[in-house]
C-alpha cells in the first residue's frame, strides 16, 4: 500500500444529468477514482448549503456538486440557483479556512460519462495537492 493521501469526495449529483453521467461512466466501463462518494439529488438546486457544510464537518476533503448545463435544467433553472448558492458558499468556506477549491460545481450532461470520470480524476488530483481538510476530525455537537 502506498502512503499517498487518499482524499474523500462527497458528490451531490443531479438525478437527470451528472448522476446519469456517472451511471453511463459505469456502464461504459470507464475507470475513475473510488474516492468519490455519490449522493443522488433530484436537482443541483436542492443542495442545501448545510449539506455541504455537514459533509465537511463529517470529514470529507472535497464536495462536488454536479448539475445540468445552463439552459438544460430538468426543472427549468435549478442549476442557476445552485450556482448562486455555491458562490456564497465559497465566501463562507474561505472565512472558515477551507480552501474554496474543495467545493466544485460542474456542469456534466447525461451523455458526458467520460467528462464525469475526468472531473472526478481532476478533483482527486487537486485534493491530493491540497491535503486533508482542516475541519476533519473536529467533532461538532
Amino acid at each position: 500500500m502506498s502512503n499517498e493521501f487518499e482524499p474523500t469526495i462527497t458528490a451531490f449529483l443531479c438525478n437527470w444529468c451528472t448522476f446519469t453521467a456517472a451511471d453511463l461512466a459505469g456502464t461504459s466501463r470507464l475507470a475513475y477514482p473510488a474516492n468519490v462518494k455519490i449522493i443522488r439529488m433530484m436537482c443541483s438546486g436542492m443542495v442545501d448549503p448545510k449539506y455541504v457544510l455537514k459533509a465537511f464537518l463529517e470529514g470529507t476533503d472535497g464536495v462536488f456538486i454536479g448539475g445540468c448545463w445552463p439552459g438544460d435544467c430538468h426543472y427549468i433553472n435549478g442549476n442557476m440557483k445552485a450556482r448562486r448558492r455555491v458562490a456564497l458558499l465559497h465566501e463562507v468556506l474561505g472565512r472558515f479556512g477551507v480552501d474554496r477549491d474543495r467545493l466544485w460545481l460542474r456542469w456534466v450532461a447525461a451523455s458526458e460519462g467520460n467528462m464525469f470520470a475526468e472531473t472526478v480524476e481532476e478533483m482527486t488530483a487537486r485534493l491530493r495537492e491540497l491535503g486533508p481538510c482542516v475541519m476533519k476530525g473536529e467533532k461538532v455537537a
Binding site: K37, I39, D48, T60, K81
Partner: protein, 600 residues
Amino acid sequence: MLELTINGQSVLVQEGKTVLEAAQELNIEIPTLCHNQALEPYGGCRLCVVEVTKRGRKSLATSCTLKASAGLVVETDTERVLRSRRMTLELLLARCPEVPVIRTLARQHGVTTTRFGLENEQCILCGQCVRMCKERMGVSAIGMVNRGAQRVVSPPFEEFSEVCRSCGACATVCPTGCIDIQTFSQHRSEPLPSEWNEGLRARSAIYIPFEQAIPKVPVIDRDACVHLNTGACAICSEGCVADAIDFDQTDEEVEVNVGSIIVATGFDALDPTPMEPYGYGRYPNVMTNLEFERLSNATGPTSGKLLLRDDKDRYKFTRPPQSVAILHCIGSRDVNYHEYCSRTCCMYALKYAHLLKDKCGHETEVYNFYIDMRCFGKGYEEFLKRVQAEGVRMIRGKASLVTDEALDEDEEGKLVVVAEDTLTAQILRVPVEMVVLCTAMEPRSDAESVARTFGISVGGDGFFLEEHPKLEPVSTPTAGVYLAGACQGPKDIPDTVAQAKAAAAEALALSSAGHVTVAPMISSIDPDICIGCQVCVGLCPYTAIEIDARRGVSVVNSALCKGCGSCAGYCPSGAAKVEHFTDKQIFAEIEGLLDCRSDG
C-alpha cells in the same frame, strides 16, 4: 350570356369570350400556335381561322381574336377553312422544316411537302415569348425587331439584355422550343433544383412537393416566385380553375393540446462536398446514396432507369453505366467525421448492387468497397450471399480517392477509384463510370434546439438520448415525450417501425389509463415550522406554492410540484422539504458514507 352556333351546335358563352374559347367549351378542336390563355389574343399564326356567317355574308376570321356575338354562325371545318390552314402550314413548313411541332401539325392536315423555298428557321414569330415578357413579367426584355422577312425576336440592339431576369417564362411558352436564355441575357439562368429529387431534376416556383404529398396541393417557393417578388406574372392563379391560389397566405402557428409527444424528427444525410478526395460536386457521376435512390425510383427523374448523368447538363441523363463503384462508410466509422456506424449502408449498398445488375444487365460491373460487411438482421446475411452470387465484386478496403486522371488507356474517360485491398495488401485502381457514396446518417442540424424544446438530452454523437439504453429505449427523461426512428440513432426501416410502434404504444398506454402517475418526490411545507417569509413562492419554477393567508404559511400544490427542491434548498426555517430527500435522510446518508471511510 350570348348564344351562337358553332358547327351547327348552339352554345351559351359569357360576354367578352372569344369564338376560340366558345369552341373549346364544345370540345371542338381548333389548331393554334400563338394562342395562350394567359396572354392577350394576338392572331399571329392564322391557324385558328374559321368561317363566319354574319348578315348572310361568309368570311374567314381568326377565332382567337374574334369576340363572340349573339346569333353568330361559325364553321370550323369547311373546305375554305381547311384550304387556308393548309396554305399557312405549307408556309410554316417552308420556314421551319425541322421543327417537330410544325411537322406534326402539317402531317395532321395532310401537308407533307411545300411549294415554297426551304429555309431553316426555328422561330415561327408567334410572339408568345414577347407578349409573355411584356404582359405577364412586365419586363419587355425581348421584342420583335425589323420588318417583313427580316423580322426576328431579339433584345434591343441585339445586345445581351440587362433587364432580363432570366425567369424562363419565354422559353416555357415557346411552342417550338427555340429559346435559349443564355443567348440574350446577361444573367445566368439556374434551374431550381427539386429538393425531393435530390437536385436531379428541376422544378418550377410553384410545385407539388412530391407524388405522395399529403395534402397533395402545390406550394409556392417564395424566394423564386416572380409574382411575390415583383408583383408581375400570377399566371398560375389565372390558370387555376378552382381559383385556389392565394398569394397572401402566410405561415400559421397552430396550438394543439396533447397528452404525449413522439419525437420522430429523423436524420440529415452527410454532405460529402467537403470530402474533396471523393470528387462529389466535381464529377457529375459521383452521386450520393439518396441521389441514386431517386434515380432508381419509378417516380424519379429517369422513371426508374439507372442512367449516367450528362457531363455538361446536370439535368440530363444519357445511358446506363457499364461499371459502378459503391463506396461504403463515407463519413461513418471515420474519426474525422462520425465515429459511429450508420447501420443502414451495408444493406442498401447491396440493394443498389442488386438493382444495378437487375436494371442495367448482368454484364454491368459492380464493386463494393467496404470496411466490414455488417449484415446483422434477419435475412440480411442471406441477401449478401445472394448478391455475391450475382457477381458483385466485394473489395475489403475503404476507397481513398476518386479521380479522373487516367494512367492508362483503360482508365481514359472514366472515374478511377483508388483503394487498398486489405485482404491482399495491394493498392487497387478500379476504373468505373459511376460512383455511389454511402454517406453517413447525421443528427438533424437543429437537434439541439429541438432537444431543449422537449427537455430531452442529446448524446455525444448528437442523436437524442433515450432514458435507458436497454430498459427504456423509447422514453425520455421528460414524462410523456417518446422517441422514434433515426432521431435517436441511425437505424434501418424495420428497427424504426419497431421503435415507432413501441412509442405509439407508450403514448396510448398513457391515454387509456386516464390518469398519470407522478413520482413521490414532491415538496411539502411543515405548517408548524413555516414562518411565512414567502421566499419559496418566488423560487418555485412551477408556481406550485401558494400562500395560505389565514394561517400565514406557504402551501405546496402537490399536483403542480415536480419535486425540484428549490424551496427545500433555500427554506431558512427548514419547513420545506422534498419527500425522500429530507434533511434527516441526507444527513444520515452523508454520515453513513463518511463513516465508512474512517472505518476503512
